[in-house]
């Protein structure tokens, strides 16, 4: 399973109605609010064992699955 598949699988737990694969403005379009954002941080911790610091909780890091994956990879380096 690639990291992207693993991420999409994890995000499905947060909200199965959102098309995380296609959306690129999750925050700006209001698909994700602060509650969903904290859930995403928890599932990223579950799936990839990363602890996202508050300084990285910014719209640009969570607007798309791609951006989230890049963020995770920055932590894994």
């Amino acid at each position: 399973m690639t990291d992207m598949e693993k991420l999409l699988e994890a995000l499905k737990e947060v909200d199965e109605d959102i098309d995380f694969q296609e959306e690129t403005a999750l925050i700006e379009d209001g698909l994700i609010d602060s509650l969903r954002l904290t859930e995403i941080i928890a599932v990223l911790n579950d799936a990839f064992d990363v602890y996202i610091a508050s300084k990285d909780i910014e719209p640009e890091n969570f607007n798309s699955a791609q951006a989230m994956l890049e963020l995770v990879h920055r932590y894994q380096e």
Binding site: S34, T38, E39, I57
Partner: protein
Amino acid sequence: MSILSFEFLLLAAGTLIIYYVLPIGVRWLALLGGSAFFVIMAGWQSIIHLTGIAAVTWLGGLLLERLEKKKMWLCAFLALELGAMLWVKYDAASVTVLGLSYVTFQSAGFLIDVYRGKVKAQKNPLKIWLFTGYFLQLAQGPISSWKELGDQLLTGHCLEPVSFVSGFSLMLWGYFKKMVLADRLAAATEILVGDISDFPGWILILCVILYIIRLYGDFSGGMDVVRGISRMLGIELPLNFLRPFFSLSVAEYWRRWHITLGGWFRSYLMYPLTASRAGLKLGKFASRFLGKKTGRVLPTALATFLVFLLIGIWHSFSWNAVIYGAYFGLLMAISILLDPLWRKQNRRWKLNEKKWISPLRMVRTWILIIPAQFFAFTESTSKSLGVLKQCFVNWDFSNAFGQLTGIMPEWEWMIAWLAFLAVLLVDLFCEIGFDPCKKLAKARIWVRWPVLLALLLTILVFGIYGPSGDSSAFLYTQF
């Protein structure tokens, strides 16, 4: 100096003229001069406080970029700034300073952003002083981050006719909301703090609802004035109100009401708590008992409760403020914990696709919001409970008209309702994507100016003026 006073209008006009006369590179000096004048007029206590906070923010920023043990130093600087706020707010009752908590939150936010490596410290202390004390947002916010405001203040802007007129319209609209609507309702809402024994319950409930409308007109009107004048200077301040009357849930209401305060607490308190190792561990631990989904959001529910409790206490150090904060905190925490259940039901009954559900959700939101307001208009819990009790005991409609006109003459009620209807309509237009201020700025000249002139005349004729000719004070300048 109230932003409703003649002196303020002169200061704003003077700042605008000097701003656009100066060479583009040094236009920020006009803002600095205007702000300095504004603070000096507020008295020595404000000058000392603001300059002290600016000094800590300036020096703190520079040191945070250079020193080791950054976390310890950040805590020390924050303790200084927040400590000063708490001391002035709760202990030194004789000290009154301008925009106490707005200045503090904005400066503390800047220091945390420097610590997080998001913004650079500023070498020039005057630039930090301007960011901390920009006169248009000093008295009651919005609370901006450096990213939102700093560069906008320092970069000179060219005169843009369209945004200039749009800003002018927004300013007029703000004065309308404050002077024609909010201050007119003051007479009706102030009966709540007087002797209420003669009033039937329905009048008291009406007055509590009018109190929310007054607060909205007062606070969001003030915001429109400062955002409007800022826009005339080419500066776009962050939104503090986004038509809260149309909220579908209490959570949405708090995303639309006093936005920058909620945003501040979210960035600097809620996320650090929920995303911390302890927060995530608590979530995992709770998942074992509450199920995966509910357990995972438990830390968020707890942090949200804490944030609302603090927002309550921020309003005043009283039991009423605690009740107000705890009420919303509890409501939000419960809705977060029940969120998985709600979503399941919504999906099952396809509720989100049904058109009739939105108005019902708006009504539900207001039914939940109104009870909290009984604890908002006064600091005395016994007074609040007295009004609440009276709401249930006496429902006499026999002399309804006489009762209402006893509070305020008939024609004042008429103007108040018409003004409220106008505010509601404009908000509704904005809600469907038609911003009257921006449209007006682009409208033909023979549409634009008659409309603005009519608005100006309405404010002059129907606005409420205080004893000294100034309008009455803003409710949210006391924080």
